[in-house]
């Protein structure tokens, strides 16, 4: 398996470590699925695409729909951009849960730029373990300053000390730059353990939400790949279940109400019912498929120039070789001589000025690519009565209450 985005920054040991990491995550997801009663967990999911020739994309908008559904769009936009006193991204850690996270850089109240990433934390752990100098260079590039040090990335550990193992370096990076979930629950406390180089204060390296990682992605995929049919309540014929019906019906480890989870569950459950084998696309990852820049306008209602948009951490499309674009990072920023800033832009679909990162996320389409076997062999099964699974809003409302208590809600 190639590294995410077909990036070429890992040497051979790092690439092997990444592949091992993928295998470990998949095995863990299968074991967990089996323990939870997922029938034939992992039977349909393979890592090697081999003869799986049908390429399919599962696409969804990047705006956290669950937050919108629970809190209303206006409140959700504000909460998702909630930062602490020093600028730590509390809202991001709590509820940016669609496999994309963002950082809004403001000068006063005006947005100067918005950065977005879909990069998996597990990959950054491998990078930290095997390529510390590359890690430092990237961190300095994203923070836009040379004043980032190894201490910002590894804590008290000097990664250049001879004899240190890759695992030790990875662990030090994780301890310094990723949240620790063992002891605290409140996002406004959890964010304090994430280093400023990744918590939004000085930079955005990789994702930190508890579900935006490789293990969760495999958990979602494995638990979704179960055959399931329901009886339609009107026609009384069998049909494929909706995402929320499948989540309830097969016990998929997924959150109803999101843009991502119900879609993945619905599609993968269908593939399993059709008897298809599935492999994640290579390179594995969630990618930024598009930004609808035409939905933004300059103050004079002209289109936003393409040069405002930067896609990175991935590869361009190669149509001749049939390789799709696979970008993991997006930055929206005005060039130096531009007559306006990002905060001056207007969102055409709502008529609103661009004030929140979520308004941009609403225009970003993410993609998870998979490959499947051809042909259909329907699993012999009896359709069951459909049961919808309801989305729960308790966690969002609790965060909103904390947001209001912090004086941010007015």
């Amino acid at each position: 398996m190639n590294p995410p985005g077909n990036l070429e920054e890992l040497g051979q040991p790092g690439r092997e470590a990444w592949e091992a990491r993928i295998r470990t995550a998949l095995d863990a997801a299968i074991a967990e699925g089996t323990d939870m009663g997922v029938v034939r967990a992992g039977e349909h999911l393979r890592l090697d695409p081999g003869r799986l020739l049908d390429r399919r994309s599962l696409d969804w908008p990047a705006l956290p729909q669950h937050a919108v559904e629970c809190l209303g769009r206006n409140n959700a936009l504000r909460l998702l951009d909630w930062t602490g006193d020093a600028g730590q991204a509390i809202g991001r850690l709590a509820h940016q849960d669609e496999y994309l996270e963002w950082r809004v850089v403001r000068a006063g109240d005006e947005i100067q730029r918005i950065e977005m990433t879909t990069e998996l934390p597990e990959y950054w752990e491998v990078l930290a373990g095997y390529e510390p100098r590359q890690l430092l260079a990237l961190a300095r590039k994203f923070a836009r300053t040379a004043e980032v040090t190894f201490e910002d990335l590894y804590g008290s550990l000097d990664p250049l000390t001879p004899g240190l193992s890759a695992d030790e370096l990875s662990a030090a990076f994780a301890a310094t730059c990723l949240p620790k979930r063992e002891s605290v629950d409140r996002p406004e406390d959890l964010i304090d353990a994430v280093g400023s180089i990744n918590d939004g204060v000085r930079g955005l390296l990789c994702m930190i939400h508890r579900d935006n990682n490789l293990v969760s992605l495999f958990r979602l995929m494995v638990s979704s790949l179960q055959p399931h049919l329901v009886v339609d309540s009107v026609t009384l014929r069998p049909r494929f279940p909706s995402g929320t019906e499948a989540i309830g019906g097969i016990g998929a480890i997924a959150t109803p109400g999101r843009n991502s989870d119900p879609l993945v569950v619905e599609r993968l459950s269908r593939f399993a019912t059709e008897g298809r084998s599935v492999a994640p696309g290579d390179p594995l990852g969630v990618y930024i498929r598009s930004l609808q820049l035409h939905a933004l306008a300059m103050p004079d209602d002209s289109d936003v120039p393409l040069e405002w948009l930067h896609l990175s951490r991935g590869n361009e499309a190669d149509e001749e070789r049939g390789v799709p674009a696979s970008f993991q990072r997006l930055t929206l920023e005005a060039p130096k001589d531009a007559p306006a800033q990002v905060g001056d832009l207007v969102v055409r679909r709502t008529g609103e000025p661009l004030r929140y990162g979520g308004q941009l996320a609403e225009l970003v389409q993410l993609t998870l690519r998979v490959q499947t076997s051809e042909g259909v062999t329907l699993a012999p099964m009896t359709p069951v009565t459909a049961t919808e699974s309801e989305s729960q809003c308790g966690e969002h409302r609790a965060t909103w209450d904390a947001f209001v208590s912090a004086g941010m809600g007015s």
Binding site: L53, D59, V234, G243, R270, S290, H294, R348, G351, E374
Partner: protein, 402 residues
């Protein structure tokens, strides 16, 4: 399956197909009228229409004691009332309610949608589909819906109500299940059990919970341009066999589109074959995926899955002017959706309809000679049922304009 809250005129129940005749009447509130005056005017219009449904025509009212009432056929039409972007404009001083976030004018920007340009009618009159109020009439005959619209205009004029009719549009259902481009239309609409999930708003703003949003796009179709394409080219734009409606699955070495190995469904068809015919199974073939029927449903997911962007379509064809150069034909595209974002995504996303005029390969810019173009259009909130009329509580409760 019936809805307690949705206004009539949305035919989502399996056993109730849309009636053949359609007419939309757009009205603005008169400048200078107070919110209360406008609200009362709308109430009078709704009351009149309700009476008309019961056979009461004002023209035929009894005027002498010895007269027996005359009536007209009953229940010949349905109507629903929508509220446009301009109604919520703070400058109008009409609305107390919060404007839904994605209820916007389609005038903004050079093109309402990136791959659906405005028609070139030789005028800049691109706001013809937008008004404060949208009255949709659907009925068994063109006369029934026309009479309803005429009675509204008559009432407004005779009673000097503070409403101004600004535009009307009409259309019809075909008898062959096809559209002007010759292909089956409305085939891959939603499963009956899932339609309400696609249609009904779940809140945000809360006042529209149980209501819906209506999108009206009057789409011109250049038959002259369309009929220059070969049948093969047409099929690779649409995504179905032109004669049978069976979805395409692949393309052979000669470039001939090949259909799925199924037939148009009958009572004897398996559920899977019916599903493949109506819901277009994902082919995995990039050229097939670029066809219209695949583009509009890229995610192949159900309405209750938000990122499926499913909408409920209920369109009506139209015939405009006939001239020596041809006939102006098109589609009054009407969709109902729980959230206007869904239609905006379908018409904006690359790979969906954001980078292709209707279907086929994507293009970097708009075609100089598109087959489909937008003649008029607007978005409307369609509030849930309410007394004395849907949306009554949206009005400002004050007697003077600010």
């Amino acid at each position: 399956m019936s809805s307690e809250t949705l206004q009539p005129g949305i035919y989502f129940e399996r056993s109730v197909p849309p009636p053949p005749a359609w007419l939309a009447l757009l009205l603005n509130a008169s400048r200078g009228a107070t919110p209360r005056q406008v609200s009362e005017a709308v109430g009078e219009v709704v009351a009149m229409l309700t009476g008309l449904q019961e056979g009461q025509l004002r023209e035929l009212s009894v005027t002498r004691a010895d007269e027996a009432p005359a009536s007209i056929p009953l229940h010949t039409f349905d109507f629903l009332l929508g509220f446009g972007t301009s109604f919520f404009s703070p400058g109008r001083g009409l609305a107390a309610a919060e404007k839904p976030s994605h209820l916007v004018s389609l005038r903004r920007g050079r093109s309402a949608f990136p791959a659906l340009p405005w028609s070139d009618h030789g005028s800049d009159d691109t706001d013809r589909g937008e008004a404060d109020f949208f009255l949709q009439f659907t009925g068994a005959t063109q006369h029934a819906v026309s009479r309803a619209a005429v009675e509204v205009v008559s009432l407004v004029n005779e009673q000097t109500l503070p409403l101004e009719p600004v535009w009307s549009f009409d259309g019809f259902q075909r008898d062959d299940g096809r559209s002007w481009v010759g292909f089956h239309d409305g085939v891959s609409n939603l499963e009956p059990s899932q339609r309400r999930a696609a249609i009904e708003c779940r809140g945000d703003p809360d006042w529209n919970r149980g209501g819906t949003y209506l999108a009206f796009l009057r789409i011109d179709i250049s038959l002259n341009r369309w009929r220059t394409l070969t049948r093969r080219e047409q099929e690779l734009i649409i995504g179905r066999n032109k004669l049978t409606g069976v979805p395409l699955e692949s393309i052979d070495e000669d470039g001939t589109p090949l259909t799925m190995p199924i037939s148009p469904p009958t009572d004897a068809s398996s559920w899977y074959e019916r599903d493949a015919y109506f819901n277009i199974a994902d082919s995995g073939n990039p050229r097939i995926e670029a066809t219209h029927v695949n583009r509009v449903n890229q995610n192949r997911a159900s309405p209750s899955t938000p990122s499926a962007h499913r909408i409920f379509r209920q369109g009506y064809e139209f015939l405009g002017r006939v001239s020596p150069t041809g006939a102006d034909v098109g589609l009054n595209f009407i969709s109902f959706q729980s959230d206007l974002r869904h239609l905006q995504q379908v018409l904006g996303l690359p790979g969906w309809l954001g980078d292709a005029n209707f279907g086929g390969d994507s293009h970097a810019g708009q075609s100089a000679d598109p087959v489909f173009s937008l003649a008029a259009g607007g978005f409307y909130a369609v509030p849930p049922k309410e007394s004395p009329f849907p949306g009554a509580r949206l009005f400002l409760a004050q007697t003077t304009m600010s």
